[in-house]
């Protein structure tokens, strides 16, 4: 058994930043990650990082934009923490050598981005995430922080108290891809989950194949509530054949969207009369799909994004990477022709519920980055607001877990008195109704009364070893690839940009059927050397849970807010819905409840206003 | 972790000398070929003529320099090639010694021959 003060699961921007912070605060840190750190999907981020750095801009404006962008579903204290600390963190990155683009005076460049009232998106070409990821990894190398790369975390070692709020987390159990060994990692102070996105529940996504929402699913099954899962962002400009992202930076620099009739539809058809292409992402995505659905799409599938008028020099200077992407993945020369684009799954606003220090309701368990929901994005994330989230909350969680006193959180995690129980009418039973009831409340837990920290970890280790063996020993049944494909298809068809009650229900039926099939899943490859099939099979299990959380949340929320549009309920219902959708795993099935959104900030309350761009 | 640099090595210096000698050799080798195959034909070479050329100080010193640079350039080139192919440790020491001795022999023999033509008895031991 490995033993450290802090175990960080995942080595994308969020994981790396928290590891650095925890180590600086004196903790003995190890990172466990299924990919080598530089392979993390943070590297794919293109556009930039929002930070109020310049005269004429300030964090309050940034906070205001973020609250408005979130459609008032974000928690103000978290948003204010994000916007106040982002400048300092961005400058920290610069001091660590990050290769930002530069202005003539040698300072870092900033550009306009959708939904922002000031050009505050700090960027490094159209490959900001790549530079951020590598800069942070360099600092991890410098500090000699131990990294277990290509170790797949199977589960959390948590206790099993009836009330999730009383559980505690003592480590993780992981599978070494190269050898097939299952090993335990005990964490004396805490575990930080930073496992990133979950785009693989959809089949048209900008996310990596590794973005399977493992952390969210693991925390969920340990009893941690997940928040606002129905809030999935669809990015308006992805390449139709692969889902590769064409950065919002293109529109930030002045790129224009046209439909098949050559209309600049955002203006000409009144979707966003003020901001046009720079309206918030949900607005633009819906506009594009409406154009396509009404027959004005190109080849009935996509619209055109044109940047030719920007001129070669400007494009090469600021968006060079986009030229390569369009060429390599769509065979289009962005200097000569407009690029085909359509909406694709991009980001999960929701995730593991945390407070502003990344703490979950389970003692010793933290979550940061895209897998977490500190609730800074609410119902819609603004472009350029995810990367600052990684570094701001990464740092906070790292310091907190290492024992620094950061004060009391304003946002509470877990079931509180103002929580509201709820019920949703579903066509099938959810979760795993066949799971044996009564013994374990939290999946993978060890009963609290007898447990010391070490026995909790050891018991989890045993269980996970069994699970891996079971999968490998069986030699007939269903294969995970079919199940995964079925989930992706139903999610893309039924739980997309436009959501309809009957379709959501159909998705739940499909997910249920997929779960049934998963019951006799098996792994055909008998090898213990680099058995990727085994890992994917376990990931698919996580995808099932994730798909269900998203769909249930979407069914519960009968209003239109931010990224979440409901055919039967096309208006925002502030009286009823200024609250977060929470889903917790309890006794083998999901339980739904709500908690109010916190709109009261440090100095003011963010009153919901109509969101028009 | 891969091996860190140990101390300043002469890698750079040898590299530079390889280039400097190469630049010099371009001229001299071309001249040499031209002279002995085109101006004079190889089959017409006689001891007397060779001796005649060698007795000119300028030609003599050019040829000595030619010999020295070519030896350095060639032997260092061979050594480099072996290192590139992963020559290390004891084997490397052996090769260094062998190459060193070989170049010395070559130089000594070359200078003796040149002296014989030039009629120089500068160093009787040679």
């Amino acid at each position: 058994m490995h033993e450290y003060d802090v175990i960080v699961v995942g080595a994308g921007g969020a994981g790396l930043r928290s590891a650095i912070a925890a180590q600086e605060a004196g903790a003995d840190v190890a990172m466990v990650t299924k990919l080598h750190p530089v392979r993390s999907h943070t590297g794919a981020a293109e556009g930039g990082i929002n930070a109020a750095l310049r005269d004429g801009d300030d964090w309050e404006m940034h906070a205001y934009d973020t609250m408005k962008g979130s459609d008032y579903l974000a928690d103000a204290p978290a948003v204010e923490a994000l916007t106040q600390e982002s400048p300092e963190e961005v400058i920290q990155l610069e001091h660590w050598g990050m290769a930002f683009s530069r202005d003539d005076d040698g300072r870092v460049s900033q550009r306009p981005f959708g939904g922002l009232s000031f050009p505050r998106t700090t960027y490094a070409g159209a490959e900001t995430g790549h530079h951020l990821l590598h800069t942070l990894y360099e600092q991890v190398v410098k500090r000699g922080i131990e990294v277990f790369d290509e170790w797949y975390v199977l589960n959390l070692a948590t206790t099993d108290d009836a009330d999730p709020g009383e559980r505690s987390c003592h480590g993780v159990v992981a599978y070494e891809t190269a050898t097939g060994e299952v090993e335990a990692f005990r964490a004396r102070d805490g575990v930080i989950l930073a496992t990133g996105g979950l785009g693989q529940v959809y089949d048209h996504t900008t996310n990596a194949v590794a973005n399977t929402g493992d952390g969210v699913a693991m925390a969920y099954r340990a009893g941690v509530p997940v928040e606002d899962m129905e809030m999935i962002q669809f990015h308006p400009t992805t390449l139709p054949s692969t889902g590769v992202l064409i950065s919002e930076g293109v529109r930030g620099e002045g790129g224009i969207l046209y439909n098949d009739d050559g209309e600049r539809f955002l203006f000409e058809r009144g979707y966003a009369n003020n901001d046009g292409e720079l309206a918030s992402r949900d607005v633009v995505s819906r506009a594009e799909l409406t154009e396509v659905n009404e027959g004005r799409g190109i080849e009935d599938e996509y619209v055109h994004l044109d940047m030719r008028h920007l001129g070669e020099e400007r494009i090469v200077d600021r968006l060079e990477n986009i030229l390569h992407l369009a060429e390599d993945f769509e065979g289009v020369d962005g200097l000569e022709e407009p690029m085909p684009v359509k909406p694709g799954q991009h980001y999960a606003m929701g995730g593991i519920e945390t407070d502003e220090f990344g703490q979950t309701c389970v003692d010793g368990l933290y979550a940061v980055g895209e897998c977490a929901c500190a609730s800074v994005h609410g119902a819609n994330r603004l472009g350029g607001n995810a990367l600052p989230e990684l570094i701001v909350f990464g740092k906070r969680a790292g310091r907190h877990v290492a024992g620094e006193d950061l004060g009391d959180p304003q946002v509470t995690a877990g079931w509180t008195p103002d929580a509201e129980a709820a019920s949703v009418d579903t066509p099938v039973s959810l979760g795993e109704p066949w799971a044996t009831r009564g013994d374990a409340v939290a999946d993978g837990g060890a009963t609290a009364d007898t447990a010391t920290a070490t026995t909790v970890v050891e018991r989890t280790l045993e269980r996970e070893r069994e699970r891996v063996e079971r999968l490998r020993d069986r030699d007939e049944g269903t294969q995970h690839a079919d199940i995964r494909a079925a989930v992706q298809r139903t999610m893309t068809e039924n739980v997309n940009v436009f959501r309809e009650e009957s379709a959501l229900k159909e998705a739940l039926v499909d997910i249920h059927a997929a779960r049934e099939r998963y019951r006799d899943v098996y792994v055909a490859d008998p090898s213990s050397t680099y058995n990727t099939e085994l890992i994917q099979t376990i990931e698919t299990r996580n995808l099932l849970d994730i798909a269900e959380m998203i769909t249930v949340g979407a069914l519960a929320r009968d209003e239109f807010r931010g990224a979440h549009w409901r055919k039967e309920h096309q208006e925002r219902k502030d009286d009823e819905w200024l609250k977060h959708t929470m889903v917790s795993w309890s006794d083998g099935s999901p339980e739904i409840w709500y908690k109010p959104a916190v709109l009261r900030g440090e100095a003011k309350t963010y009153e919901p206003k109509e969101r028009s761009y | 972790m891969a091996e860190r640099y140990s101390s300043f090595t002469k890698g750079g210096r040898l590299w530079l000398w390889q280039r400097i000698t190469a630049a010099f050799l371009i001229v001299v080798l071309a001249f040499h070929f031209f002279l002995l195959h085109f101006v004079h034909h190889a089959d017409e070479v006689t001891f007397a003529m060779s001796a005649g050329r060698m007795q000119q100080w300028s030609y003599y010193s050019l040829m000595i320099l030619f010999l020295v640079t070519a030896t350095f350039h060639g032997v260092n080139g061979v050594y480099n090639a072996l290192v590139n192919a992963g020559l290390t440790g004891a084997k490397r020491r052996v090769i260094q010694v062998v190459l060193g001795v070989a170049s010395l022999l070559l130089l000594v023999q070359g200078v003796r021959t040149a002296n014989a033509w030039a009629g120089i008895d500068l160093l009787p031991i040679l």
């Binding site: 683009s101 360099e138 190269a178 065979g331 019920s423 055909a524 339980e591 | 750079g12 290192v83």
Partner: protein, 294 residues
């Protein structure tokens, strides 16, 4: 169905609960059958579509130290239905999901940024996700990166590559930081332009694999690590003093001098980094700084 309530102790009538579960099971059953029906139709439709498609012939290197029949390396043939825009990675994924689940390769981002899937395709190091099948002659021969040990199928051991990358002190160091909070270090646009290409490396290892010198001399830093050193040495923010140190590192015995300007690294780099040029520039920088000291 009403989902679990918060208070699990709530009393429920047992009989009622029983009946409830009964109809529930039935309902689940019906729903599931419907879903399966839909799924079957989809699969059929898919099959029909793929039956008509043009197929690409792949020859893929296979090896597994543990599995009988794979211990001796061999090539397997796969015939993958072609779709417009299909990449080598797409084809491999298809072959894995449809024909042989044990086919193993690294991949993640599908967009040439994570650097996981550098492969040896038709005699050249390329990223699977960045290579269009239509640009290749058939059969498409796919092998793991040369000069690295094969772990399984297309997966090679990257440890040595990582070690080399990390041996050049690949992190920013500077002796002077600007005064004042929120002050960034200034960098001219020209300087950022100079290091721009060098910062694009995605650690894919293609360059190292293509270099014959790196194959012969195991300690040679290799083009990627030298390029990493270049990225810092040329960054004016680090200052002169640190630059000298950096030059010392790349000047070591197995540093820049080993490069024989084969250019293959530059040719295969998927990020178009002019590696040879960077290496050569560092050689000159090193010579210059040494001449100063002689």
């Amino acid at each position: 169905m009403s989902t679990q309530r918060q208070n699990p102790e709530t009393e429920t009538d047992n009989a009622e609960a029983e009946a409830d579960t009964e109809t529930e099971t039935e309902r689940n059953e019906v729903a599931r059958r419907r879903a399966e029906q839909r799924e079957r139709e989809r699969v059929k439709e898919n099959e029909r579509a793929t039956a008509d498609a043009e197929r690409y012939h792949l020859k893929v290197f296979r090896y597994d130290p543990e599995v009988e029949g794979k211990q001796e390396p061999r090539f397997d043939d796969f015939h993958v239905p072609y779709e417009q825009g299909m990449t080598v990675l797409d084809a491999l994924i298809y072959a894995r999901d449809e024909f042989d689940v044990s086919l193993t390769f690294r991949h993640s981002c599908r967009q040439a940024i994570c650097g996981s899937d550098a492969l040896f395709v038709n005699g050249r190091q390329r990223l699977g996700c960045q290579t269009q099948l239509s640009d290749l002659d058939q059969p498409v021969r796919i092998e793991p990166l040369p000069h690295q040990e094969v772990v399984k199928d297309l997966v090679v051991d990257m440890e040595h590559f990582y070690d080399q990358m990390e041996s050049v002190e690949p992190y920013f160091q500077t002796t002077d930081r600007p005064e004042g909070e929120l002050e960034e270090q200034r960098q001219s646009r020209e300087n950022r332009e100079q290091i721009k290409t060098s910062t694009r490396c995605i650690w894919c290892g293609a360059c190292m694999s293509s270099c014959n010198v790196a194959a012969g001399d195991n300690e040679y830093l290799g083009p990627a690590a030298i390029n990493k050193a270049y990225r810092f040495a040329m960054d004016e923010r680090e200052g002169e003093e640190v630059k000298q140190r950096r030059l010392e590192i790349i000047e070591q015995e197995h540093g820049v001098w080993r490069c024989q300007t084969q250019f293959s690294c530059t040719e295969v780099c998927p990020k178009d980094i002019p590696l040879t040029e960077h290496i050569q520039e560092l050689k000159r920088e090193a010579v210059k700084s040494n001449l100063k000291f002689w």
